[in-house]
Symmetry: D2
Subunit: 130 residues, 4 copies
Amino acid sequence: MSDDRTTLQDLKEKMAQFVHERDWEQFHTPKNLSMSIAIEAAELMEHFQWLTVEASKTLPLDALSDIGEELADIVIYSLSLANALQLDLTDTVLAKMAKNIRKYPSEKVRGKSHKYTHYLQDRESDGTER
Amino acid sequence: MSDDRTTLQDLKEKMAQFVHERDWEQFHTPKNLSMSIAIEAAELMEHFQWLTVEASKTLPLDALSDIGEELADIVIYSLSLANALQLDLTDTVLAKMAKNIRKYPSEKVRGKSHKYTHYLQDRESDGTER
Amino acid sequence: MSDDRTTLQDLKEKMAQFVHERDWEQFHTPKNLSMSIAIEAAELMEHFQWLTVEASKTLPLDALSDIGEELADIVIYSLSLANALQLDLTDTVLAKMAKNIRKYPSEKVRGKSHKYTHYLQDRESDGTER
Amino acid sequence: MSDDRTTLQDLKEKMAQFVHERDWEQFHTPKNLSMSIAIEAAELMEHFQWLTVEASKTLPLDALSDIGEELADIVIYSLSLANALQLDLTDTVLAKMAKNIRKYPSEKVRGKSHKYTHYLQDRESDGTER
């Protein structure tokens, strides 16, 4: 398989099967899964712990392989959490992206990493919404 | 859209477009993205901070909505990282799941949450691989 | 040494010496140290990943030793960050504790794990501050 | 108080008193405390999320105040965990620092951020321990 041929549902089903075959629903509760995602996220960060932001952009092949594994773990636990909460990941992701598009209109934020409140202030001060 | 009609590539492309329109590639470097995933993972955990594992299984609707947003953020940054590293998420996820299937054979682990080494010891002690 | 004979300054100085002898100030920047604390915090969480909250209260001796090491790492990086930012840890901790005492007055929160806003609403509704 | 006049025990006692007055021992279990430290560590990281490592070294005063608060929260939960596990923080910190001094001898690592294994290989290849 690969990304252009695989749906979110395909991956969610594989994960549900993996968990079910092992009778692991009892461990894959929301609290434990949230901890698991955070744990894997930290293992991912470890690869960049002492690098400058720039250096993190050019990584050797073997590091890339390990990094891919940590990212896979993050996605794997996220899939399990979506299953546990019966969430449609696509719908929640697209809804959040729509919210981000509103929060960070491209003409206002291009090239800058300001947080939402900065732009909210701009909106309030002159009354128009861009 | 929804999970059974959306491919990983669909979501990766939407994320790439969002980042590109804002000239945010400069901020969406691997180091920063790994921090971002960890930050969102912690915001997700906050919903379960003081709950028992059992209580985390029955959540009110408004909490479910917020939790969905945090999970969306985790997936959103994961998509951006996959783009930044030019990783096929499906391939990496399936490869890691195959590794987990080998590490945690269902007949050995059903119902138990032991780590890999426990089962490795079992393999070593009697010489056969199950 | 031990806790009743050791000041925060004693520990901060030992950490400063360790970092300086290795010419590691260049790596112990606030961004990297914040990542390091989060990484160690996740290694600590891993010990409790699949346990119920109750089970986490009774741990075997060897687990306790490993857990102590992760907690030590968290404190070690926190000391280095306090040095890097020239922060008096005692002052910041006591200031935050004073804020928490105000946010969570014991007569209101005893036995309950409500967040601040719940009590703020109580204050607003009857006008008095307890 | 301040760092040169305050012992670890002073802070642990204040924290124990705060928790006890609120009958919060039931929530301050090791699992929950480990999550809490990770949550606060992520709030700390958020201040540096999009900054370069260099930029994180020069922060405005109001940011410094918020950062101090997050660091205080990390230390506060660490104190509570030390109390819950009846750990002497000084002993565990000094033991881990001694281990780090052995792992990362200053003459070998000065100026470099290599991980332990690199130096272990050096030790193994020529048989002597430096």
